[in-house]
Amino acid sequence: MIKVEHLFYSFNDLPLLEDLNFEVKSSEIIHLKGVNGSGKSTLLKILSGILNNFQGKILLSTDNVFFLGHNLGLKDSLTVNDNLLLDYRFNAEAESLDEACNIFDLNSLRDSKLFSLSQGQKKKVSLVQFFLSKCDLFLLDEPFANLDKKGIELIENMIIDRQNQGASIIFTSHEEHNISSRELIL
C-alpha cells in the first residue's frame, strides 16, 4: 500500500524526518508514536500529499486517501448536515447519514451550525465523515483526542472494520490502543 524509502524532510533547514524507511501492507493498522514535535503530523501530511518538498521516495498504490488532521476541515458556518452532505469524499444518502449520526449521538444537533458544537462534538462530525467514506488508505492524526470513552471505542471498532474491508490505517495517538497490528515510533 505504502512504501517509503529514504524520506528526508526539513523545516527551515532544521532536519525533522531523517532517512525514514518503512512499508505498510494492505489491511494493516499502524499506530504512529513519538514525543511531541517528533514529526508525526508532518509525516501524515507528507503521505497524504499536502506537503511536497521532501526528499526521498514515496510509493502509494492508491490515490483514494482519507486524511484527518488537527484542523478538521469542517465549515463553521454550515450546519452539521450541510457539512456532511457537501463532503466530496462520499455521497451521503439519507439512511446512512441517519445511521451514522445516531451512532455518534449527533442526531439532535444536525441542524445546528458547527460553530456552536463542543470540541468533542466537532471531532465526532469529522469522524462521521470517516465512517461514511470508502477509501483505501486512512491517515488519522490523533482521532481519539477530545473524544469521550464511548467515542473512543466506536472509533476503534470502525478502524478494525475498515481493516477487515482491506483498507490500511495509520493513526497517531499518545495513548495505548490494542487494535494496531504494528507500532511505528518516530
Partner: protein, 245 residues
C-alpha cells in the same frame, strides 16, 4: 563561465567574494560619485533658463535611473528563482527591494525640490512622475510582504510572485498612465527631453555610473547580511565568526 556562475550562487563563495571586493567597490563608487557631482556642481556652466537649480540633476537623474533598474533586475531574479529555485536570487530580491524604495524616494524627493523653483509646484500628475510614485508603492508593498510568512521559502516565493506580476504589470501601468495623461492634457508642464549640453552630459554620466557602482556595493553588503541571517546555523558562518575573533 558556467563554473563561475555556479560558484557565484553558492553562499560561502559569494560571501567571501563580497567580503574581499566590498571595500574596493565602495571606495571606487564614492570616488566616482564625488567626481561626477563635484564636476557638475562646480565646473559645468549654469543652465541658460534655470540658472543653477538644474544642478540637482546630478542626483535626481542617477537616482531615478537606479530606482528603475533595480526593479528590472529584481524581475530577472524572480524568474530565476521561480524556475531554478536558486536561493541567491531570493536573497538578491530581498536585499535590493529596500534599496530600490530608498532610491525611488530620493528621485521623488529631489524631483520635488527641483520642481518647486522650475515649475512653481512640488508635484504634477504627469505620466512619469505618477509611475515613479507607483513604483515606490510597489516597493513598499513588496517589503511589507517580507514578514507575513513564518517560513522562509514561502516568503521567497511570495516575493518573487509579486515581483514578477509587478514586472509584467509595470509596463502596462506605464502605458495606461500615459494614455490617461495624454487624454487629460492638463499637466501643462512635463519633463522635456531637451538635449543637454555636452559639458553637462559628461559629469551626469559619470554621476550615474557612480550611483550604479554604489548600489552594487551596498547591495552586496546587504546580501551578505541576509545570507548570514539565513545560514546562521551553518558551519561555514560559524567558522567565519570564529576567525574574526
Amino acid at each position: 563561465m558556467r563554473q563561475f556562475f555556479s560558484q557565484l550562487i553558492s553562499f560561502p563563495y559569494f560571501f567571501k567574494l563580497a567580503q574581499l571586493s566590498f571595500p574596493y567597490i565602495f571606495v571606487i563608487s564614492i570616488f566616482v560619485i564625488l567626481l561626477g557631482v563635484s564636476w557638475g556642481v562646480f565646473f559645468s556652466p549654469s543652465d541658460a533658463t534655470q540658472g543653477d537649480v538644474y544642478r540637482i540633476i546630478y542626483i535626481h537623474v542617477p537616482a531615478a535611473s537606479v530606482a528603475q533598474s533595480i526593479y528590472y533586475t529584481m524581475v530577472v531574479a524572480s524568474i530565476t528563482y521561480l524556475i531554478w529555485r536558486i536561493k541567491m536570487a531570493s536573497v538578491f530580491m530581498i536585499s535590493m527591494a529596500p534599496l530600490g524604495a530608498l532610491f525611488t524616494f530620493l528621485a521623488l524627493f529631489t524631483g520635488a525640490v527641483w520642481g518647486q523653483p522650475t515649475w512653481g509646484t512640488w508635484w504634477v500628475w504627469d505620466a512619469r512622475l505618477t509611475s515613479t510614485l507607483i513604483l515606490l508603492i510597489l516597493y513598499l508593498a513588496i517589503i511589507s510582504l517580507f514578514s507575513s510568512f513564518d517560513r522562509r521559502d514561502s516568503t521567497d516565493q511570495a516575493v518573487s510572485i509579486i515581483v514578477l506580476i509587478g514586472g509584467i504589470n509595470l509596463p502596462i501601468i506605464k502605458l495606461s498612465v500615459e494614455w490617461w495623461n495624454t487624454l487629460h492634457q492638463s499637466a501643462s508642464i512635463t519633463l522635456s527631453g531637451s538635449s543637454i549640453d555636452n559639458e553637462m552630459l559628461i559629469p551626469l554620466l559619470i554621476s550615474i555610473l557612480g550611483f550604479y557602482i554604489y548600489v552594487t556595493a551596498i547591495g552586496m553588503r546587504r546580501m551578505q547580511i541576509e545570507i548570514i541571517k539565513r545560514e546562521i546555523t551553518h558551519n561555514w558562518v560559524k567558522t567565519i565568526f570564529q576567525e574574526k575573533r
